[in-house]
């Protein structure tokens, strides 16, 4: 197992290099720069600025410099927020994004698994249809539709929940409810569908019949025998799910005005804040790679048939 993790981490490094290179050179090809203001600044000031940020060098040199700094954990200064480092900015936004994202993932996994299992056990009955109908709604209504509508109905009309901002002092934890639910809904739907399909397949298999035949109680069969192998497809979906939650958070943070990382990213890209864009890309890419690794490990723990060394 140790060598497996090591090997995966070693593969992660070239992947990260490819990602950073792609993002870096794409940004540099872009017309315009961070110092193109509405009112052009004098050439001397401009040159000084470029020199200060090392942007007077050839692009490949800039990339090498960036990578050397990155290897030392330095994400560089922000080009737009002059008094702050990229690391500081990300440090402010990251906890918010992580909190919302992980709550949404937890909610999605629990509710999705539960709903899917219920639907499978009551296949073709009304509760099955209810769950599948709900899943269809979840798949068809994206966060960018669901978010504003929930904010309008639950927040504005019924005045039940706060619709934006992250004011814990005033509203307590209820500020998290709408963003987390909105972000989780599509994933609940997808996980419920996956779970239902795999559970149906599992219940029909021979070893479940054996377990029943030897007189185990129905809950014991379900929890100890069926559930364990039925969740395997879900585990392999966790990687893509976390990527989906991350891109969903870009929308959520805008809809509910949350000071997360995604909110920075779009603005930074529009304003050509190269270092901030790169910083966000690096952090998110590492996060996705890490979560994929975690999902693979979890998969092999749950499924002893998978060997690390094969």
């Amino acid at each position: 197992m140790f060598s497996f993790v090591l090997r995966r981490l070693l593969v992660a490094i070239p992947t990260l290099i490819v990602i950073t290179a792609l993002a870096f050179f794409m940004m540099k090809v872009a017309p315009g720069g961070p110092f193109d203001l509405e009112r052009p600044m004098p050439d001397e000031i401009r040159e000084r600025l470029l020199e200060r940020y090392g942007m007077d060098q050839p692009v490949w040199k800039q990339y090498l410099d960036y990578m050397v700094n990155l290897a030392q954990g330095d994400l560089g200064p922000s080009l737009k927020f002059h008094d702050k480092d990229v690391a500081e900015l990300i440090g402010e936004g990251f906890p918010v994004s992580i909190m919302i994202g992980s709550l949404a993932m937890l909610l999605a996994v629990f509710v999705g698994t539960l709903l899917g299992a219920i639907a499978a056990l009551r296949q073709n009955k009304s509760s099955d249809y209810a769950v599948m109908g709900f899943a269809m709604i979840g798949v068809s209504i994206p966060p960018l539709v669901m978010g504003p509508i929930l904010a309008l109905v639950l927040g504005l009309y019924m005045n039940l929940l706060p619709t934006g901002g992250l004011n814990f002092n005033r509203y307590g934890l209820s500020v998290l409810v709408l963003p987390v639910i909105t972000l989780a809904l599509p994933q609940i739907a997808i996980i419920a569908r996956l779970m239902r399909a795999s559970m149906i397949e599992v219940i029909r298999s021979n070893y479940i019949r054996t377990a029943r035949a030897k007189g185990l109680s129905a809950p014991a069969v379900m929890v100890r025998h069926a559930l364990r192998s039925a969740v395997l497809p879900l585990v392999s979906y966790l990687g893509p799910a976390s990527a989906a939650v991350i891109s969903g958070s870009l929308v959520i943070e805008r809809v509910f005005q949350l000071p997360g990382m995604g909110a920075y990213f779009v603005d930074a890209a529009l304003q050509r804040d190269y270092t901030l864009v790169m910083g966000v890309v690096v952090v998110y890419a590492s996060l996705i790679i890490f979560l994929n690794l975690l999902a693979d490990l979890l998969y092999s723990v749950l499924n002893p048939r998978v060997k690390f060394d094969s």
């Binding site: 794409m26 872009a30 269809m136 960018l144 504003p148 504005l156 891109s247 870009l250 929308v251």
Partner: protein, 302 residues
């Protein structure tokens, strides 16, 4: 003894046989038509497409970019035919929603075609050539899979300006990966099938085998995947437009309308509700049709 069959009779027998025989596709069509949700969705989607075309042609009383300065944020009313109201700038919401719907659907179809072309070419080449080239090509797909793509699309949109052709290319270039995998898997599996071997043994040329045996058999999963991909692409476009990176004013798309509607919802909730509901209906229909097609073409997954 030999029975002599005259040519006319033989012809008749052949046509009868043709009538009785049911191809895979006939079966699929029958199954699809029995799926009420899918049929209803096809009908509604047809209506939406007609409406979108009307919107594009500008037949409606109002243009999507005409600004009525004295009619800002009017609630749905029959006065002046603003039956769905006007937006915060005084433009007719129905006209804008129809144009937005058209743009969203068009992006959905065109970007899907882009990804279809890339994915099928890539997957089929890898599957046919096989060996080391196959390995390299699919490894490349694996690596791309693990990238946080939405960031690249966002950077792409920022870098090369925000025009609609780029949206097609950007989304299509992102979504072809799964298609390539499906097509490669299918071609690999098919190439080992006995009927392909039989055709080879019978001396059928390679081109003919691809044309007669491989393509029709790969088509099923590809069609299913394509229909399920259109809603995904529509979503991707509205995602970009929502973030302000998609189509630019005064042109619009559903995602863009929803994003401005969300900003104005306290004063003019209809500017949010109308495009949001339109988008919901569209995605519902597309998903139902996709699911129906999947059940029809590949019944074992039901």
């Amino acid at each position: 003894m030999t029975t002599i069959v005259n040519p006319k009779e033989k012809q008749e027998m052949l046509t009868k046989a043709a009538v009785r025989g049911r191809s895979l596709w006939d079966d699929a069509r029958t199954r699809l038509m029995r799926n009420k949700a899918a049929v209803a969705s096809m009908f509604i989607l047809g209506v939406l497409v007609v409406l979108a075309i009307i919107g594009q042609l500008g037949i409606w009383v109002h243009d999507y970019d005409t600004i009525y300065r004295d009619r800002v944020s009017i609630a749905p009313t029959l006065d002046n035919w603003h039956i769905l109201g006007t937006d915060a700038q005084g433009r007719d919401l129905l006209a804008r929603t129809l144009v937005g719907l058209g743009v969203s659907l068009m992006v959905g179809v065109v970007a899907t075609i882009v990804s279809l072309v890339i994915g099928v070419t890539w997957g089929a080449t890898a599957g046919f050539v096989g060996g080391r080239i196959d390995q390299i090509m699919m490894r490349f797909v694996d690596i791309l899979y693990s990238l946080p793509f939405i960031f690249f699309v966002i950077i792409l949109m920022v870098v090369f300006g925000r025009n609609i052709v780029l949206i097609f290319v950007a989304i299509g270039a992102v979504e072809w990966l799964t298609m390539a995998r499906i097509v490669r898997g299918q071609t690999l599996a098919l190439a080992k099938m006995e009927f392909v071997e039989a055709a080879e043994a019978a001396g059928v040329s390679r081109g003919k085998i691809i044309q007669r045996h491989i393509i029709p058999n790969v088509l099923g999963p590809v069609v299913v995947y394509v229909t399920l991909m259109i809603p995904v692409v529509v979503l991707a476009e509205s995602f970009l437009s929502f973030l302000g990176l998609g189509v630019q004013e005064p042109l619009t798309s559903l995602g863009r309308l929803i994003s401005t509607g969300a900003q104005d919802m306290e004063v003019a909730p209809w500017t949010l509700i109308v495009p949001a509901v339109t988008m919901m209906i569209t995605l519902f229909c597309l998903n139902f049709i996709g699911d129906g097609l999947r059940d029809a073409i590949d019944p074992k997954d039901r």
